[in-house]
């Protein structure tokens, strides 16, 4: 797997819906177009929610994966 280099990391460990997407939106506001946010969450609802958030906002979900009980997302700002 190619390594993705993120520009910013957002840790949403321990937070439940809707805070992971609320914080993701806030973090994305700080990025420039083309920059990448790595988001880490433990909310089991976050994989479908982040995918939906990505479709709705047009920010591309480059990778959605799970590692050691944590969900990890790489999102590219549109």
């Amino acid at each position: 797997m190619d390594t993705i280099n993120e520009d910013q990391v957002l840790d949403c460990t321990g937070l439940l819906c809707p805070m992971p997407i609320v914080k993701t939106k806030k973090a994305m506001n700080e990025l420039q177009s083309g920059q990448i946010l790595k988001m880490i969450a433990t909310d089991a609802g976050s994989p479908p929610d982040i995918a939906a958030w990505s479709r709705q906002t047009g920010n591309e979900l480059l990778l959605s994966t799970e590692e050691g009980g944590k969900f990890i997302f790489f999102l590219k700002k549109a």
Binding site: G14, L15, L16, C17, P18, M19, I21, V22, T24, K25, K26, T42, D43, D49, A52, W53, Q56, T57
Partner: protein, 174 residues
Amino acid sequence: MSKSDPNAPKRLALIASKGTLDWAYPPFILASAAGAMGWEVGIFFTFYGLTLLKPELSAAVSPLGNPAMPMKMPFGSEGFQNINWPMPNLLMANVPGFEAMATGLMKQTFKNKGVASIEELRNACLDLDVRLIGCQMTMDVFGFKREDFIKECEIGGAATFLEYAADADVQLFI
């Protein structure tokens, strides 16, 4: 007029009609989630929902007449926390302070699980420019004044909400 512009963002129009802690969550969760997705969002607070616009939120929950509500203990072992405590109506109706206790238990359980408080969710909505509209008629009926509510909200009536909702993609009554 979002519909006349094909590039306009999606719009969510909510009515929040209940002011208890359990019913305060759905409108603020949906509104903040939609706002985070770049949607336009407006919530019309009417009847008992209007108190959710007060500066100090005091939403409580009553297990009385809420028979499917699980009562959970926010402390002790995981097995203990997962027990659903049956609460007889007689106990709920007659024991002073029962509602305060149930409210405290729910708030602590939610906090332990990582659910944001109503205050946090309302602040998230304000950050996301969610329109909060208080119902004028309810204010008159219950004797509230404009200054009883947060300064960020606006006041309007049924026509204000309907005009907004007419151009919404999703409308929900909560």
